[in-house]
Each structure stands twice: as structure tokens, then as C-alpha cells.
């Protein structure tokens, strides 16, 4: 395992950080929110595509070099710093990984270049209840002779309000809760019977409920093997959790820096408030949590690239700790800013709102703690 970036990854990181700072600062999110764009930003998406950020884990030639998940983690961390809504996690990480791990040669040849070029966007339609529960799938896919007919309802699907394609997790066998019997389907978002209900979420990134009513897809729409979708889904969700955690690290870092700046500039009782020991100690504890969590995320990203057997354990470690970190740092950011932190004009509230969404996606801290314990056998 390595905690160090290669020279190429270092350059990618610098580019991503500069891009987030200059092209998609927090004010961009405010503009999108205030104009009612609901997190849809075609202009930024185009620029991200030009920089190659959608192809970070996709080699030019099959089997060729790429930046790896470590590289993509740098891009996600950068966009987390400024809370930018982009399709990178859903499309460049989740869809690309699903296709790489489970896609047929035809699917890969058709979709991976389009993803890398920023010409295709995806959304993973997974959850059916308000809590992450990847095996609790009731959406049915029934064989109809020529293909499958899908019926069901997916809740709070990130990016589904603007993606061109959906990756739908459906049940072809068994009952909700069974690991066996899940199948992944590639479904065009404009297919007959798909209805998308856009949601206006607290973080202004948006999402959608997706209803599938007698949606017909051919057999070639299956990603991976029939009934064995979990074999693809689980490693994809581990990577999603790690990628989400990398984004959260960026958000926590930025919120913490903002808090430190405020502690070092705001005066009360004739003193900088940062000179009060009760605030200093809370800042020092946050810093310790940040540094510990940074190591976990770095280890998890590189474990994927190195094909280590403990990816699931490290994914749960990274996501659980990142969830606790953004929760703590965003709350303290609001509190330490005092009344200013309660105003819409100031940024702390934006970080807190986004934090709660980040915490819920791909498994909350308690979901991942439970899995960490199960993996450790107790």
C-alpha cells in the first residue's frame, strides 16, 4: 500500500484543485441554486470533459495506463472542497466501474469511450427506501421472451434528474433481502415507462425518484450475469463509498479551513475568538480526526488500485469515518461562526447541508460500522 501520489497523480491533483477553485467555486453552486438549475451544470460538465476528468480510470486502449481510483479520488476531493455538483462520481466512477467489472465486450466498447469523453452520463438506480440497503431490492425484472420487463420504484437517485442512462438494480429471483437474484440493467432514461420525478434536495444538488412501469429492455441490457448482479454491485458500491469519502474529505478540509480563518479574525471581548482554549481544543480535535481520516481514504483508494483483498473493510472504514468527520466539522463550522453561521449569505450552512446528503449516500456511518464488525467476525 502506498500513501504517496505518483508524479502524474500529483499533476492531476493540482489541475483538479485549481479547476475547482477557479471554475466551480462555492459561488457557482449558489448561482445554480438561485437560478433553479437544481444542480444541473452543462457548462461545467463540458469543461470537466475537456480536462479528461471523466476518463481518469479509463485507459485509452483496453489494458492501457490510467490514473486509477487514487487519481479519481483527487478529482472528487477537489470538487468536494467547493461542493460542486458534477456527474463525476455517478458517471466516471460508478458507471465506469460497473462496466469495467461486469460489462460485456460490446458494452465496454460502446460506453467507456463515451464516458471518458464526457458524452454519456449515468445514474445508479438502487435504493427503494429512505435508507441504504443494497440487497433490499423489490423492483422486479421479469423475462418476457425477448427480454425483460421492469416494474418498481427507486428513491432519491443522485443525478437521475439529468442522466441519459440508468443502471437499474432489479430482482430476477428470490425476495427482497436475498443476495442471489439481483441483476443490473442498463436502461435509457427516456425509455417508455420510465418516469423521473426531480427532487429539490437540501444541498441544491438535486436527485430524482424513478418509477419503472412495464419498462421493456433487451437481454443485452444486462450488466454482469443474470441473478448474480451482487457480484458486480458490491465492489462497485465499495468504490462508490470510497469515492464519496474522498469528496467528503475535500468538503471537511475546506469547512475546517474556513473555520480556522474565522477563529483567527473574529474578535470578542477584545480577543481573537481563536485564542479561547475551549475553541482551540475543539479545533485541535477536529484536526486530529481530519488527519486520521485522510489516511483511511488514501489507504482505501490505493487498495482498490492494487487489488488488495481488504477493499471492503477499508471502504467501510473510510466511509464511516468520513461521515463522522463531515458531521462534526460542518456542525462546528456553523457553531464557531456564531450568528453568521446561521445566515444564508455565509457558506457554513451549505457545507452542513451537503454533509448530511454525503453521509446518507452509499451507507451511513452506522451501516458501515455494522459491516466492519461483520467482516471482523463479531
Amino acid at each position: 500500500m502506498t500513501f504517496l501520489l505518483t508524479e502524474d497523480q500529483e499533476m492531476l491533483r493540482d489541475t483538479a484543485m485549481a479547476f475547482a477553485r477557479d471554475e466551480m467555486p462555492v459561488t457557482r453552486l449558489r448561482q445554480l441554486r438561485d437560478s433553479g438549475a437544481n444542480g444541473v451544470d452543462a457548462e461545467t460538465r463540458q469543461k470537466l470533459a475537456e480536462l479528461g476528468f471523466f476518463g481518469v480510470i479509463i485507459p485509452d486502449e483496453p489494458g492501457g495506463e490510467h490514473f486509477g481510483l487514487v487519481g479519481l479520488g483527487q478529482v472528487l476531493e477537489a470538487q468536494g472542497r467547493t461542493l460542486a455538483p458534477t456527474p463525476v462520481l455517478q458517471t466516471a466512477l460508478i458507471a465506469a466501474s460497473a462496466l469495467q467489472l461486469g460489462g460485456s465486450a460490446e458494452q465496454q466498447a460502446e460506453w467507456l469511450p463515451k464516458i471518458a469523453g464526457g458524452e454519456a452520463s449515468f445514474a445508479l438506480a438502487l435504493d427503494e427506501t429512505a435508507h441504504f440497503n443494497p440487497l433490499g431490492i423489490a423492483t422486479e425484472a421479469e423475462s418476457n421472451g425477448q427480454g425483460y420487463t421492469l416494474n418498481g420504484m427507486k428513491r432519491y437517485v443522485p443525478d437521475a434528474h439529468h442522466a441519459d442512462s440508468l443502471i437499474v438494480v432489479a430482482r430476477t429471483f428470490g425476495e427482497a433481502g436475498d443476495r442471489h437474484g439481483l441483476t443490473l440493467f442498463l436502461v435509457p432514461a427516456d425509455a417508455k415507462g420510465v418516469s423521473i420525478q426531480a427532487l429539490h434536495s437540501v444541498d441544491s444538488h438535486g436527485a430524482a425518484h424513478v418509477t419503472l412501469e412495464d419498462v421493456m429492455v433487451p437481454e443485452s441490457a444486462i450488466i454482469g450475469a443474470l441473478d448474480k448482479g451482487a457480484d458486480v454491485l458490491e465492489p462497485v458500491l465499495d468504490r462508490a463509498a470510497i469515492g464519496q469519502a474522498a469528496e467528503m474529505l475535500g468538503s471537511a478540509d475546506a469547512a475546517f479551513e474556513m473555520t480556522l480563518e474565522y477563529l483567527n479574525s473574529r474578535k470578542q471581548f477584545g480577543q481573537l475568538i481563536g485564542s479561547f482554549q475551549s475553541l482551540q481544543h475543539r479545533a485541535a480535535k477536529m484536526f486530529t480526526e481530519l488527519e486520521l481520516t485522510r489516511s483511511c481514504i488514501s489507504a482505501a483508494l490505493s487498495a482498490v488500485d492494487e487489488g488488495k483483498p481488504n477493499v471492503a473493510e477499508l471502504a467501510s472504514l473510510a466511509k464511516a469515518r468520513a461521515s463522522e468527520l463531515v458531521h462534526l466539522v460542518s456542525n462546528e463550522c456553523v457553531q464557531m461562526h456564531g450568528g453568521i453561521g446561521m445566515t444564508d449569505d455565509a457558506d457554513p450552512g451549505l457545507y452542513m447541508k451537503r454533509a448530511r446528503v454525503q453521509e446518507a449516500l452509499y451507507g451511513s456511518a452506522s451501516w458501515h460500522r455494522d459491516r466492519y464488525a461483520r467482516l471482523a467476525g463479531y
Binding site: 500500500m1 502506498t2 500513501f3 504517496l4 480556522l260 477563529l263 483567527n264 477584545g270 480577543q271 481573537l272 481563536g274 485564542s275 479561547f276 482554549q277 482551540q280 481544543h281 479545533a283 485541535a284 480535535k285 484536526f287 486530529t288 488527519e291 486520521l292 481520516t293 485522510r294 489516511s295 483511511c296 488514501s298 489507504a299 472504514l317 464511516a320 469515518r321 452506522s366 460500522r369 455494522d370 466492519y372 464488525a373 461483520r374 471482523a376 467476525g377 463479531y378
Partner: protein
């Protein structure tokens, strides 16, 4: 021909392996027993005679301190060679030949601040484990505010005269020499402190062990009454000791966080989840029945994993020449929290089995847990309290300002 270090390293590995094969006694390749740890010094009893042999052989090579210069008795190895040595030692599961404050704290500081004569005089006996050192820092009135220390050191022309009292002096009753902070100027605070060395057998030195809540006495109260010290035993400048003191504290904090606290993971002690399975039980899917305890154990295990990954990350960054900055305090703070949480969970998971003190009727490993749990309460006090470490992080790392 270009110099190829890897060829040399492979040769060094082969030689090292051969040497260890011949010189590391069989019992020194078995897990360390608590009562066979060697601290060296004149009063070392060597419960296991092979431990004596092992120390002599390692000391002769200078391999108790592999990277220290050979002219002071150190191993004179490069960093790369030392890595090879450590790998080979781990390969045969060799015990450390010597535990020593001299190796971990005083030696590194003396190499940095001592004069040539002092280094030649003191370092070789640290390497060979012939002198056991103790640390004279805290005083009854100077704990967290260490610089407020009052032990007086007066210049009497041809010698210094020391009067005062130290406390929490680890193993002062077993040490041969002390490195000690003393006051040479009473009109200023930090700028009036000097760093001095003397023999614990000097007339006027008395060490009294302090009985702790854990039933052990690793620390002493140490009294100095008209102790005469030769003038060449003062390190650095008169009144320049605070700089040395701080540097030495960094060595101390990093040795605590790297090596863990005394007693962690001691022989025969299981993880909290194992005791919980044993004494509380699991459901049909193998999960602990007490879901709340299960969650808290997991929280702790995640913290411990994150801590260990951070130690690895910093080691890698340091090796690559990257700035790791003031990380010692982060790790010291984290190590204390981790060890205390672990022991609270161990005692909780053991239930009444974890409440034994002595005698029959309790699992022996559980009795050890009870003692270690009590001992762990000192982790957030010794070597700089957690509160002081948080002060250091906020001021030196985060740049927060002092209260006016």
C-alpha cells in the same frame, strides 16, 4: 562503474542474516515475556541468561542503536541498511535486546546538543546498556507548566550544587544516572533552565517509589539535597536547557506513539470483541447481542486502524522527504485516547470477570486487563497531558493565537 547500493544491501543482508543466525540465542526468538524485558544498567539482573548474551552481542555491534555514529559505539548504518537489519530481526522474530530511555530519548538529544567529550563519555554505555538513565523533569509544582520548575542549581566555582525535588521520575529507583532540568536563573522562566547530568549514587540523592492505583510503582519521588555535580556535566549553554528539554520531549512523544504505551497488547490479552463474544454472546448470525457495545467496539477499532494507517502514512512521507511537521502531538494525543478507550472496552466486555485484583477465581489475563486499565489512565497525563497536546496542536500546527 556506477555505485550500486542495492548490491551492497543484498550483501549486507546476507551477512546480517548469517550473523543473526549465529548470535541470536533461541529463547530470544520467542515472544517477549513481561518479566524478561531488559532495561540494562548496573542493577540489571537478567532473569534469562540468554538475554544478557543477546544484549552483549547486539551492543558490541552497536545494533541497539543502528544509525548512531560508530565512533560513539553506534552501528554506523545507513538508513537503508538499518531497514534491512530491522527486516531481518523481524524475520526471526527477535526480541528487542534493550529497552532504554537512553536509546529513545536522552541519546538522540545528547547527540544533537552535547559536546564531543560528553558524547564519547556517555553514548557508548547507552548503546551497550551499561548505564540506565532516568528523566528528571516534572516537579510537584511543575507538571503541565514544566518550565515553572524550581530545583535549584548553583554555581559554586568548581562544581554545581543542586537542591530540590522531582516527581514522576520513571524508574528512578533502578536508574544509574539522571538527565535533569534545573533552574540556574530565578529571575526569568524559560531562559533560566539548564540541562544537567549526574550519577544517582551521588551523596544527597534519594528516590522513593510511588504506589499507583494499578498497584505498581513505575514512578518515584526524587529528592536532591546538596548534590555536588562536576561542571563538565552540564549539556549545552548555562540557561539554554529549555531548547534541549523541548526537543527531548518530541523524542519522548514520538517513542510513546510509535511504540504504544507500556502494557498494550500484552501477552495473552484478547481484543474487546473476543471477550464480549465470550461473556455476552452472539446471535444466530454471529453478531454480538449487545448492539450498543458492538457499535462502540467498532468505533474504537476503526479509530485504532485509522491511527495505525496515519503512523504508516507519516513514515512513508518522512521517508520520501516530505514535511510531516508537528505530528508528534497529534499521535501522542491519539495514542492516549486509543489506549484508554481500548481498556475501558476490555473491562466492560469482561463484566465482573474484569474486576479482579489478586488471588484465585479470576482468569489471569483478565486480572492483567484490570491492572492495565488502571495504568492506562496515566496515558493522557504522562509525557504532556492531552490538554497540553491540544494546546500544542492549536498553536503550533493550526496557528491559533495566544490569549492576551
Amino acid at each position: 562503474m556506477a555505485y550500486d547500493e542495492s548490491v551492497d544491501l543484498e550483501q549486507f543482508r546476507a551477512q546480517t542474516r548469517e550473523w543473526l543466525e549465529e548470535n541470536c540465542p533461541p529463547s530470544m526468538r520467542t515472544p517477549m515475556k513481561d518479566d524478561e524485558i531488559v532495561w540494562g544498567g548496573k542493577r540489571e539482573k537478567f532473569k534469562n541468561p540468554e538475554a544478557k548474551l543477546w544484549l552483549e552481542r547486539m551492543g558490541e555491534k552497536g545494533w541497539t542503536s543502528p544509525e548512531w555514529p560508530a565512533k560513539y559505539g553506534g552501528g554506523g548504518l545507513s538508513r537503508a541498511q538499518n531497514r534491512v537489519l530491522q527486516e531481518e530481526l523481524r524475520r526471526i522474530k527477535a526480541r528487542p535486546a534493550l529497552f532504554s530511555f537512553g536509546l529513545w530519548m536522552f541519546g538522540p538529544a545528547l547527540l544533537e546538543f552535547g559536546n564531543e567529550e560528553q558524547k564519547l563519555r556517555f553514548i557508548p554505555d547507552i548503546v551497550k546498556g551499561k548505564t540506565r538513565w532516568c528523566q528528571g523533569y516534572s516537579e510537584p509544582g511543575a507538571g503541565s507548566d514544566l518550565a515553572d520548575l524550581q530545583t535549584r542549581c548553583e554555581d559554586k566555582g568548581d562544581h554545581y550544587l543542586i537542591n530540590g525535588q522531582k516527581v514522576w521520575t520513571s524508574y528512578a529507583d533502578k536508574a544509574d544516572w539522571i538527565f535533569c532540568l534545573v533552574r540556574t536563573d530565578t529571575s526569568v522562566k524559560h531562559e533560566g533552565i539548564s540541562f544537567i547530568l549526574f550519577d544517582m549514587e551521588s551523596p544527597g540523592v534519594e528516590a522513593r517509589p510511588i504506589l499507583l492505583i494499578s498497584g505498581e510503582s513505575p514512578f518515584c519521588e526524587t529528592f536532591f539535597t546538596d548534590v555536588k555535580v562536576p561542571k563538565d556535566q552540564l549539556v549545552g549553554e548555562v540557561n539554554g536547557g529549555w531548547q534541549i528539554a523541548k526537543r527531548l520531549l518530541q523524542f519522548e512523544r514520538s517513542s510513546i506513539s510509535a511504540g504504544g504505551f507500556g502494557g498494550t497488547g500484552g501477552s495473552g490479552i484478547l481484543g474487546p470483541e473476543e471477550y464480549a463474544k465470550m461473556h455476552i454472546g452472539t446471535d444466530s448470525e454471529g453478531r454480538l447481542i449487545d448492539g450498543d457495545l458492538r457499535g462502540r467496539i467498532t468505533d474504537h477499532k476503526m479509530y485504532a486502524k485509522a491511527f495505525n494507517l496515519t503512523v504508516q502514512r507519516q513514515a512513508e512521507q518522512a521517508k520520501a522527504g516530505q514535511q510531516v511537521g508537528h505530528t508528534a502531538s497529534i499521535l501522542k494525543y491519539g495514542a492516549a485516547k486509543m489506549n484508554q478507550d481500548r481498556h475501558e472496552l476490555l473491562v466492560e466486555a469482561l463484566g465482573t470477570e474484569g474486576l479482579g485484583w489478586e488471588g484465585e477465581g479470576f482468569d489471569p489475563s483478565a486480572k492483567k486487563v484490570t491492572r492495565q486499565w488502571l495504568r492506562s489512565k496515566g496515558n493522557s497525563i504522562e509525557g504532556g497531558t492531552s490538554e497540553i497536546n491540544l494546546n500544542v496542536i492549536s498553536k503550533r500546527v493550526l496557528g491559533l493565537k495566544d490569549h492576551k
